[in-house]
Symmetry: C2
């Protein structure tokens, strides 16, 4: 029987291929994605697929401006301090807080950020990941038979510079349709979590229009779905196989959730003022990722982490203005976006 870790690694490898192909098909004349495979010194590997165009003072005409679709499949040893830190969020890890034992871990994930060039085409992000902690004393080689803790996490969210309600509805309903067959409690809980997570407190606004966000999904009760656990046990998946099926469904929804949106926006005419606003919004994206994003912060603090892969999410260009007047008129197209960023909506 193939271990879940191997099935998950195979799944994200295949998904990465499909997503990169779908993006390349959008713009057949553009340069291909750079495919960059790397080894991790402490164990494991990754494949970064990256799109960019050479620098030029005159703007390029490709559909994408900067994009990265990464997978990583790594393993290693968690020092006691890291395990204790993890137990704050994952209380079920069977580990004596006084222990000084390091434990083997396995982590695999796909992570992508796509920044299109047209100000009317939204930025999108998605990430799906699987984590395992293994019992160190059960044998020299970590394997599926001695997993003592595991969980899935992930999500996807849309960040436009200009609001198109039909895009928001399409994105959210595609994701909801992917979630609902796996339990009615999933989408409401993880849509709300997404709104809360992708929030920039110092700007008092969301990063974008939200989507899905979850972490720590395993066979234990989940703090974000208390009702689902108390009553009907069919409103969320509980087994590794059922949770993996949910994660696959969400991952498979990425292409249908996004490609139709970028397709209908990527050739719209745009003005210099719209480009300016897009660059200002890119600045907010940088603020969120560098100041608040847990994955980014964790990565930056991790000795030996691959910085280029972590910061792949940053846009090619971002802009900051002091007291910018763009967006301050509520009736403007820019003001309309800010309104929904300050007051997240139920799109479906």
């Amino acid at each position: 029987m193939t271990a879940l870790r191997d099935k998950f690694a195979e799944y994200i490898t295949d998904l990465q291929d499909k997503i990169v192909s779908a993006l390349e098909e959008l713009d057949p004349n553009a340069p291909r994605f750079l495919r960059d495979q790397w080894e991790r010194e402490l164990g494991g590997y990754g494949i970064s697929c990256v799109f960019s165009v050479p620098y030029s003072a005159t703007p390029a005409t490709t559909i994408l401006e900067k994009a990265g679709v990464n997978i990583s499949v790594i393993h290693g040893t968690l020092p006691p301090a890291a395990i204790k830190q993890m137990r704050v969020e994952h209380a079920s890890i069977p580990y004596d807080p006084d222990s000084t034992t390091a434990l083997p871990f396995f982590a695999a994930g796909i992570s992508l950020v796509i920044h299109p060039r047209n100000p009317h085409a939204p930025t999108v992000h998605a990430n799906y990941r699987y984590f395992e902690i293994v019992d160190a004393v059960a044998g020299p080689a970590p394997g599926p038979s001695n997993v003592i803790a595991w969980w899935f996490g992930g999500g996807s969210d849309l960040t436009p510079s200009y609001l198109y309600e039909e895009d928001a509805v399409h994105f959210h309903s595609t994701i909801k349709a992917a979630c609902d067959p796996h339990g009615a409690a999933l989408h409401p809980a993880f849509k709300k979590w997404c709104d809360e997570y992708f929030f920039i407190p110092h700007r008092k606004e969301a990063r974008g229009l939200g989507g899905l966000f979850f972490d720590d999904l395993c066979s234990d009760p989940h703090k974000r779905m208390p009702d689902a656990q108390a009553a009907d046990k069919t409103t969320r998946p509980w087994t590794p196989e059922d949770i993996f099926a949910f994660v696959r469904s969400a991952g498979d929804a990425f292409i249908p959730s996004y490609i139709p949106i970028i397709t209908r926006r990527m050739h719209l005419p745009s003005t210099e003022e719209e480009r300016r606003w897009q660059l200002l919004r890119r600045g907010r994206y940088v603020e969120f990722n560098l100041v608040y994003d847990r994955g980014t912060k964790f990565g930056l603090m991790t000795p030996g982490a691959r910085i280029e892969s972590i910061l792949m999410s940053l846009p090619e260009t971002a802009r900051w203005e002091y007291m910018s007047e763009v967006g301050t008129e509520a009736e403007s197209r820019e003001g309309q976006l800010l309104e929904v960023l300050k007051n997240p909506k139920q799109w479906v």
Copy 2:
């Protein structure tokens, strides 16, 4: 007798005027700085002087790209949690850790960041500040007679995209000359602190070429100058008046430390590739300020803080590339800069 807080507020108001005038004189045809006075709801005021030019897809031709010279003079009440946090760094604050008493505070400072447009002209930052905590029970109106803790902080550092050794030597020697008359221990201690502070761990490089950085300078022994305290008491200033004289001397050195440098670089011819490298370096500046800078982080976390003033330090435009090849050749001009960022030098 005028209280130190009032003398300091007067000093930074005058210094702000002088610096803005000096920058405006560099480029008489450019728009003037915007002078923006604001009131703080919880007590005090600030004046932000900001330079920018309207957005355009074709690059502007002004000497400066974005600049801000701020002062703020604020007062209010420190809740017990904030005082306890401050005592970590300022052990001398006479405050019972079990107390639930809030204490009045006063804080004033000047803070500036200048991003010139020419890739050969360096970015510069300076900041000088004074902080007071007042005994709450001594009277209803906080005043100089009941100050229970006070300290000065500040510094200045230079961040070029291209290394000109004579600029580095000029900047550091001007600052050193401003420090030395106030005590031989100051410059060595605070130059070193600057190199340590303006460091980007995830890039393993300094933000720039350093300069001066200090905090917590008061009548108590200072952890960064142990020798100066143990032996000759004249190697650093000890009284409020003598420390203020040192801070004035450092503040007054800003114009002579920087204006000659920008003057000789601002009209140099530059290429698109040099502009690209400058924008990549601006990206590193953003990374440092958002991820590590203590003042920025503290500001972003403070409810009611004026975000526009805090983020004034960010460049107009910044750029990120995945695995950029610029700077990877040690013999290139870009590689030469990286070499000194990875191995900070004694310039004087």
